[in-house]
Amino acid sequence: MIRTGRRAFLAGAAGAGTTLLLARSGWADEFPSKALEIIVGQPPGGGTDTYARAIAASLPSFLNNQAVVVVNRPGGNGVLAMEQVMASPADGYTLSLTSAGTAVIKQVWDGNGPDLAVDMKPVATIGRYASCIVVNKDAPYANMQEWMTAVESSSKPVLWSHTGRGSIHHIAGQALLTNYELPTRDVPFQGAPDARNALMNGEVEFSVFGTQNLTGFEEQVRSLGVISDARDPFLSDVPTMAEQGLETPLLFTPIMLHVPKDTDPGIVGEIEAAVRQACDTDVYKQATQVAGLPVWFQSSADTQAWTERAKENWTPIIEEIKART
């Protein structure tokens, strides 16, 4: 089942190139009449890129069979890609795919960069990442409570690794730790692989990174709790923090599609409707499932509401974390 789905997705993605060539002779007068581009701020192969390729493969059937091409524009923590979309014509043919929580954090952390809520127009949300607390497989804790008791009674700060200061996993993890005033010290690494490796090597006692990075390492590490409002569909046996009676000020980060801010609302509505249908296709669901990425559709209005709420609620938390580190 999964395999056939992957084939379909892969075939669809490869077919996009052919459709692109055919698109030049298109004559349809309504939107879209040519290929669309999704600009991704990450290199090919990561989670965000996989979301982009999955949606690009499933969108054409709902957009006059126009191809959707993924363009990777890495650099500057995703800011370069966002700036490129902001500078593109506001005709709906250039979309940005962003991890919104990361963008909100970066804006506060760096003190510059685009403001998702103001500088762009939301189309839809298509997925999300959640962070989780990870310990070694043989660690003697059954749940978060046991683990927290052990950390609290530690005589010296407990070391933990994350994916880099100012990343979503650092902020989400640190916000939880600060909330319960746990004696910890963070060690920043560059990305989840290095953070995970430091945990496996025993250099740190626990680690915080994305749920999808547990795949392939089930025999070495395990998660004690997911920092989200719902269980991760691919980690259904790991409870959330709320289920374990813990309050976490900061949850997951949504994966959002945006267009330049002056784009015509009618065009935004058309893309939104197409994305809504595409998120429901087997092609999209199975392509994201293979990489352990959850599907989560949100309308344009809900997407905007999330960003505004996150900006308001997260800013003081991020500023406090930044001041303390």
């Binding site: 395999r3 290199p43 192969g45 363009v71 800011v79 200061r165 990343s167 392939g216």
Partner: protein, 505 residues
């Protein structure tokens, strides 16, 4: 081991996979030869094409591209002093000098044969050791990387021909350049002056291609060859392959390069430039003719090129078994695996044995294909040097500019490449060899990050002595400093130090 090899060969010799290895190797060689156009950009572009293939076939093709680019990367370094990526900076040093001495064919030949031997030995090493590698590299964390790279930094003045003091100046300039960009620990912006394109630091490709390649092209175009007179007419095209004497000098270098490359390649945090550079300095230290290094010593090509290739194949082990990519290219290949639904990690060997052993066995085949592909091409590449420089220079310049742009599709990289080209040209006119700068730049970034991580982990410097591997490496560093100090003091007493400095410049 044998059942693994047989399983791997079963996968690797399937007609479709043989075809993929051939296509990958051909594309890889082509992009390796075009200066600037790197494997990351190519694999990114070609990744969607692999979506229709089975995971093993897809990864075999991408792996062919990667290895082909490693083979091809030495070609432009040797012929026109344009390094394809940071790992081939070291090849420029003696490889291009050999070309100037009329031994371009020998340099290309030894690079190809060295790469082949190193590649085959590394693959055999992987077949024997791969499942044990997660345990073998367990002792390697930030403190060990910090000390390993520190040892590298202490050797950085060994490369280049401009004397110790000028090399030191260049090395410190490189260390300073490495501080530009996002702070590896605090995540804040340093020396970016608000430019978004500097957030990720100065790119290694603009720096290396600018300082070596563009600078070389400028001196060719301006008709001022600072280091040596280049006489294309006198190139002996017929003497394409290494002579018997050259083979004799290279054989031990190839042997040592294979071992060094394989071992350092297993450590994903060290990076390929450390591999080739350590191999170079070891050859120089062991050579009976150290003065020839930097002036066209064939060991200076054979050692690093072998190590570079052995290392890049060994690097597949930590990527596949620990999910740790050692280079951006490896990162993209790992991402491709993820899209194909293959989760890298300790369970990969048992869950997808066809992918794991298939990829390793396919490297044997890719190496065979590459040597068959590359050796006949040497005569063509050498003839390239006969093209008048009025044609050659603008053509290469075009490729350099296109290559610099395609790294991240940003025009700023082109300006940086050209800027570093002018800087490199001026440096050379003032008698500075930019090689220590590039190496210190690459190592400086790794050193800063792992040193600061270690200090947080250990809450002080004690951690370096507590851990056995880092303690040993630290002793090596101390010994290296002491040896140089004692030697300098002795030489100073005999009144020779200042004279030697002056001689070299």
């Amino acid at each position: 081991m044998f059942e693994n090899l047989i399983l791997g060969l079963d996968v690797a010799t399937m007609p479709v996979n043989l075809g993929m290895a051939l296509i990958g190797a051909a594309i890889g060689t082509a992009i390796g030869v075009l200066p600037g156009l790197g494997p990351v950009a190519t694999i990114s572009i070609l990744m969607p094409v692999t979506f229709q293939l089975a995971p093993a076939s897809a990864i075999i093709m991408l792996c062919g591209i990667y290895l082909g680019a490693m083979y091809g990367g030495s070609i432009t370094s040797i012929l026109v002093n344009v390094p394809g990526e940071s790992a081939s900076v070291v090849t420029c040093l003696d490889g291009h000098q050999m070309a100037k001495n009329g031994r371009a064919g020998a340099a290309l030949g030894i690079a190809a044969f060295g790469s082949f031997i190193g590649g085959i030995l590394a693959t055999i090493g992987l077949l024997l050791l791969a499942p044990a590698i997660p345990q073998l590299t367990r002792g390697f964390g930030p403190p060990e990387y910090a000390m390993l790279v520190l040892a590298g930094l202490l050797l950085v003045t060994q490369v280049g021909t401009s004397g110790t003091i000028r090399s030191l100046i260049m090395a410190f300039a490189g260390l300073m350049l490495a501080t530009v960009g996002t702070d590896p620990i605090s995540g804040e912006q340093r020396f970016t002056f608000g430019f978004t394109f500097l957030y990720d630091g100065i790119g290694i490709v603009p720096l290396a291609i600018g300082l070596f390649g563009v600078a070389e092209l400028l001196s060719l175009a301006l008709g001022r060859n600072e280091t040596q007179k280049l006489q294309y007419e006198k190139l002996k095209v017929r003497e394409l392959l290494p002579s018997r004497a050259e083979w004799r000098r290279s054989a031990p270098a190839i042997g040592r390069g294979s071992v060094i490359g394989f071992l350092l390649g297993l450590l994903p945090g060290a990076g390929m430039s450390l591999v080739s550079f350590v191999a170079y300095t070891i050859e120089k230290a062991l050579s009976r003719r150290p003065a020839e290094f930097g002036r066209g010593a064939i060991e200076g090509v054979a050692g690093p090129e072998t190590a570079n290739n052995a290392g890049s194949q060994a690097a597949f082990a930590p990527m596949l078994t620990l999910g740790l990519p050692s280079s951006p290219t490896m990162g993209v290949i790992m991402g491709a695996l993820m899209i194909h639904g293959v989760a890298v990690g300790p369970q990969l060997i048992t869950r997808n044995p066809d992918v794991f052993w298939g990829v390793i066995a396919s490297m044997l085949i890719s190496n065979l294909i590459l040597i068959v592909l590359n050796v006949p091409l040497i005569s063509i590449f050498v003839r390239l040097l006969k093209v008048p420089s009025s044609l050659l220079v603008p053509l290469i310049m075009l490729f350099v500019v296109v290559g610099a742009y395609t790294i991240d599709n940003q025009i700023e990289d082109v300006w940086m490449t050209l800027l570093f080209g002018v800087v490199g040209f001026l440096l050379r006119r003032c008698g500075f060899d930019p090689a220590p700068m590039v190496l210190a730049y690459v190592l400086g970034g790794i050193f800063e990050r792992s040193l600061r991580q270690s200090l947080i982990l250990g809450d002080g410097v004690g951690i370096f002595l507590e851990r056995p591997v880092s303690a040993v490496l630290m002793l090596v560093c101390v010994a290296m400093v002491l040896v140089v100090l004692v030697r300098t003091v002795l030489r100073f007493r005999s009144g020779a130090a200042l004279v030697q400095e002056a001689d070299q410049t």
